[in-house]
Amino acid sequence: MATQQRTPTRRHTSSARRTSFPSPYEQRAPEGAEDWRSMYPYNVLFQPERRAVEEAKFWFCDSQHWPTVLKPFETIGPELSTKCLGQFNTRYFLVPPAGGLECRVHQGYVYHHPVTVERDEAAARVPDFLRRAGYYFAHWDALLDTWKGKVLATIGELEALRFTELPDVQPYEEVERGVGLDAADTLLGGYDRLLALCHRAWQHHFEFLNLGYAAYLDLFQACGQWFPGIPDQAVAAMVQGVDMELFRPDDELKRLAKLAVELDLDHLLTVPGPGRHTLDSVASAPGGRDWLDAWETARDPWFNFTSGNGFYAEDRYWRDEPALPLGYIGDYVRRLRRGEHIDRRVSELVAERDRITGEYAALLDPAQRTDFDAKLRLARQVYPYVENHNFYIEHWSMGVFWRKTRELSALLHRAGFWPGENDMLYLTRDEARGALFDFASGWARGSAPIGPDHWPPEVARRRRMVRALASRRPEPALNRPPAAVTEPFSIMLWGITSERVRSWLADLDTTGDLIGLAASPGRAEGPARIVHSPAELDLVQDGEILVAPVTAPSWAPVFGRVRATVTDIGGVMSHAAIVCREYSLPAVTGTGSASTRIRTGQRIRVDGTAGTVTLLD
């Protein structure tokens, strides 16, 4: 919402307005992390010899996907996702104006720079794009079926990988069969396969995604022409799905809560500190078996779901930690007992979607109406993918990938390579491959590997650096911003608009309201609860307003407790925004600094319709 003053009134003017963000080459590292560059792969760093090239580009921090400092192994996320995004734009569909994203890791945080395509080249790409993307749009559903098969096969292959102890001797029957290959061959090959499958999962992720966004963008642009200034959330509401697989995990929890009440098991599910023992107590109760059968049915695949976002190796998954889903189920049971309505109000959402769509459509003349209907039809066809892929890739595929990675780390930990089970994450993936070979060749020789002497002090050094980096919040952007932000995906997905960049530069002092994006309509007032990581979700109390650097769709179960959500980062098509709309929860995203400016307990007013957050005390 733009507010202009015709006549100047007394307003705060911040001293020395910045016109540019700091250069990555001039930012001092936090104390204790001076040598941070030594632990990341060379290809994600701002290299000294490329200073002129790198400083000429505008980089924005992607704290929406990577809100906390990455460990060296975790750079696989930004590296593979930006590579795969690029391949479909540049090499597969030839999307006219969009290349990929360049990514850098700077002081532990991820920065992107959108690769733009020159006008002439963009025009030259059109015929190929029409043919290739046209084929996908025309055969969308069939190709999506194929896609699902590919994803399930990738997940199946990941699940089948085993990283277990190497045997004392190879079995005798291998001798008779003349196999001549050892367990290390399988182990090393398994590691290569693990990385290749992760790469594959990210290719699956982007195969349909940008086409989905492109169709949405086409509708979005047309609406912007017909109805100048139409709110983003209005267009989002027109395509809003209601029966999404992304919401299935939460829907399953609600189903299990209702079943528990029905079977008179609810008292067992509201005990404090639920866990495996809770399942045991249900098992021995009358009717408990029925409930456990339902639990198992829901668990595969819907509990391949993390309260994080799938980009961190130590994200906790429901499947592995029953305490997570059981805690949410306990919550729902308590709400059911209070007579609350816990289901998403699907019919209301549908009615609202149809009302909004119908009212705009009625304002168009017949020719416009035909175009509108056609664009809307396509956007609605592709839109479910935009939401559902998140379950299949970020949650399910990546959940298995990280679990296997931790299995391998634990194997080498048992061999003395590092003090903590998950310490392999302090190695880059290439270093990890070296460590694995070191381990395998020591086993083959029958003498000690080098790693147990080399890695523990190095891991300790890196652990200290990661901790030091984490003590500082990242700059929202680097270098001089462009006069205007026009790259559509940055705007739609990250909420990086010219206005947002200006407000970052202004380094808004602590007077007045926070302005963000109107991501989900409605107004609410209440005490704030600042949550920096999924681990703090347990602290959220009924009736609070959730304030976080970024939220994940998997936080949905706590949405039942809160009145509204505010984030530092994210556009109106970010997953958090989509979920808040589905849960009819007011949300303001992309405020830049809410999680640092607001204190837990402070009363705030959130206006998700206008995109403002007012501090009331």
Partner: protein, 360 residues
Amino acid sequence: MADQYTVAFDSGAAPFTARVGGKCAALLTMTGRGVPVPPGFAVTTDAFDAALDGGGLRARIGSLLAGLDLSDTADTERRAAEVRGLVTDRPVPPPVATAVTAAYRVLGAAQDVPVAVRSSAGTEDLPAASFAGQYDTYLGVRGADAVVDAVRRCWASLWTARAITYRAAGGMPERGLSMAVGVQSMVDARTAGVAMTVNPADGDPSKIVIDAAWGLGEPVMSGETTPDHYVVDKVLLVPLKTTLSPQHHELVVAPDGHGLLRRAVEDARRGRACLEPAEVTAVAELAKRVERHYGCPQDVEWVIARDAAPLPDSGPRVLLLQARPETFWSRRPRARAEVVPGAGVSSIADTMLGLGTLPT
């Protein structure tokens, strides 16, 4: 209540414009639809006719205006003033005065409430087709006698030089002129203004634009003050753009209820938006409701009372003072927006090539 000479807005009577004029017809209709409208009544065209037809007044007016040369502005002014004098000097017929007094008493049983007395002429049914603000309006009128007098002055305002010239230019006959008058409780306004259900700047029908000022809305209609300006999305009722103009004075009902008072706006309110976000939404909702009933863009006047308590479940209480069809864009085609036609991949490609100009 309704009788031959007065029709209360909440009487459920049919809103015949020939009887109550355009302004009161809209208020009758909207009151009947449950839209919050301050209580009031129409003084019918029958009352006007009773006053004019008694004592051959129409014939005398006709002869006063016979052979008028409109290019002689001084003469036109003089004759017009004489006609108005004829109308205002003559007592209102007792049955009419009695009916108006009775209807006025209903508005404030125990005391004389301040009211607004507005001319309600003007639709195709009444030959005195008008433009906004052509005929008189009296605000802050208190007491039955004062109300009856204000009604008579509204009648007389049919014969300003400007109105006579306008009718002549439009080829409208002077014979058979009639006018209804609306009498409505004054609202002690905290904020008031106008709203239009189409963007007057470009004819965009997906917008509602609101002009608002502190106090009564008259300075907004007359253009004496620069109001705060809000552009609202019509479907989501979200404010899209707000342009604030600090107002230094406001017009309010005088403390004794007689007439109006122009006073300084204190510092605390001066630079502040005179509508809270929830109030912007409520005003837009009201305008949208009126448009929905009439099926065409509307131009409405609204007010929020100083002591208005928010209504449960529906936010701030906004009252409707007037509604009329918007005439400019409703009669013109809008410039067609340049949209990449069709759908599917070719329009996507075209859209993408135009992305360099994406508004941010």
